[in-house]
């Protein structure tokens, strides 16, 4: 079984030298914890799903999912950077990235929020998914496959924050739980956000998931919501 070390620097370690090193690392790169400790550097990980050989689904417009998610990631990255956040992306171009590599990138970034971006032609509005793993107390070492379990509470809180912001902006939002390789391996408040077509009251599509205006509206709302999440994280 693969294990992952959670970067929490205050666990009891027999060796004083190791403790000192961990403490130093913890102070230097203090980010966030499941308890919402104050972060000095607010890092957001954007994971544009699929890419390279993995095209993902095909949208009604003819575009493939990997292109739509990358476009949304690029938009959101700019907006978050403009708001003073540090943004780490799992891919910047049409390249294949293994789901476990995506989680590795997110875990090394010690992020305050990790968003896996998806797009679909099914359903309507925005689908927000939290891992279906049962919540656990975060420990020093956690199994790789269920690393997200220690962060479920914070992930649900993040989902709530984004849901509120999206509803306020008039989006149709569906909150669900799912099992998704990549997100389940992340040691940060992590969500999968799936952008589905915008539909009118009669169910007819008014904007596809890759529509530029629709994506811009969504990216703006997510950026505003993450700013509020950042302020909340800084509250004592």
């Amino acid at each position: 079984m693969r294990w992952i070390r959670v970067p929490s620097g205050l666990m009891v370690i027999p060796s004083i030298a190791v403790l000192a090193a961990l403490l130093a690392t913890s102070i230097a790169g203090a980010q966030s914890s499941p308890n919402g400790m104050i972060a000095q550097r607010f890092v957001v990980v954007l994971d544009a799903a699929h890419g390279g050989d993995d095209a993902g689904g095909r949208l009604a417009s003819g575009q493939v999912e990997k292109a739509a998610t990358l476009a949304l990631s690029v938009r959101l990255r700019s907006l978050l950077a403009a708001r003073g956040m540090t943004v780490v992306t799992t891919r910047e171009s049409d390249m294949t990235v293994d789901p476990e590599k995506r989680a590795d990138i997110a875990n090394h970034a010690k992020a305050a929020a990790c968003l896996s971006l998806h797009a679909t032609e099914s359903g309507a509005g925005i689908h927000i998914f939290t891992s279906s793993l049962a919540p656990l107390e975060p420990g020093l070492f956690v199994p790789w496959k269920t690393a997200q379990a220690g962060w479920i509470t914070r992930s649900l809180a993040l989902a709530g924050a984004l849901n509120s912001a999206l509803l306020k902006e008039g989006f149709n939002v569906t909150l669900s739980r799912t099992d998704l390789i990549g997100v389940d391996n992340m040691t940060c408040p992590a969500l999968a956000i799936e952008i589905a077509p915008l539909r009118g009251a009669d169910g007819k599509v008014t904007a596809e998931a890759d529509d530029a205006d629709y994506q811009a509206h969504l990216a703006n709302t997510l950026a505003t919501a993450l700013l509020a999440w950042r302020l909340e994280a800084h509250q004592p």
Binding site: R58, T120, A124, H127, S176, T178, E194, A196
Partner: protein, 207 residues
């Protein structure tokens, strides 16, 4: 003036070409017949002689991501595995209907088999069972790609199995008898699903 031997050679080549065309046509016909014979001809519906019973379907709705309970009167066989296949086939028929709230093509033929076996890790003597649902590759290939739609398909299958066979507490998925990483790019098919993950929302209808 064309020499006689060239005329004979031309004639032989022409006859040879025609004969080979005939053989090719014959082989093509045989291959086509073999393909048709290879298709699954097993019945996907229970025989009408079976007694009609009430079955509960957990039907997914893409619009709000919900699972709604629907009661159906169906002729169901006595064997639990065959029973599960008929019920799941009926569920997929709902999804294949033109006005489906969770459209997925394929219908009942998307379920190849359902196997029931004792669940690993269950309480001893509890009678908990693991259902192995063998989907067809045609069904998987025609399934729309998306986190929500794939999750709903998986959960509605798990929930429907548990609603009709309460002893089924775990579900695994195969595609044409083989393990596959995901349904259509998202929903993980390598894990064992717990039927408790699939809870219907309030409401429902009967037909």
């Amino acid at each position: 003036m064309i020499p006689r031997y060239q005329k004979i050679l031309f004639g032989v080549l022409l006859v040879g070409a025609l004969a080979m065309a005939g053989v090719l046509w014959h082989l093509r016909q045989r291959a086509h017949e073999r393909l048709l014979e290879g298709q699954d001809s097993a019945p996907t519906r229970a025989p009408e002689v079976a007694p009609t019973e009430q079955a509960m379907l957990l039907v997914a709705n893409d619009a709000d991501g919900s699972l709604l309970t629907q009661a159906r009167s169906l002729p169901l066989p006595a064997d639990p595995g065959a029973r599960a296949r008929v019920i799941l086939g009926n569920l997929l028929d709902v999804y294949a209907a033109p006005d489906a709230a969770h459209p997925v093509a394929g219908g009942a033929s998307g379920i190849a088999q359902v196997f029931l076996m004792p669940a690993a890790g269950g309480k001893s003597g509890s009678g908990d069972e693991l259902a192995v649902v063998n989907l067809t590759s045609n069904f998987v290939a025609s399934h729309p790609s998306g986190l929500e739609t794939e999750t709903l398909t998986v959960l509605s299958i798990c929930g429907t199995l548990h609603a009709n066979l309460p002893q089924v507490t775990q579900v695994r998925f195969l595609v044409d008898g083989q393990q596959r990483p995901n349904l259509a790019g998202h929903a993980d098919l390598t894990r064992t699903y717990l039927t408790t993950d699939a809870a219907p929302v309030a409401g429902g209808s009967s037909q």
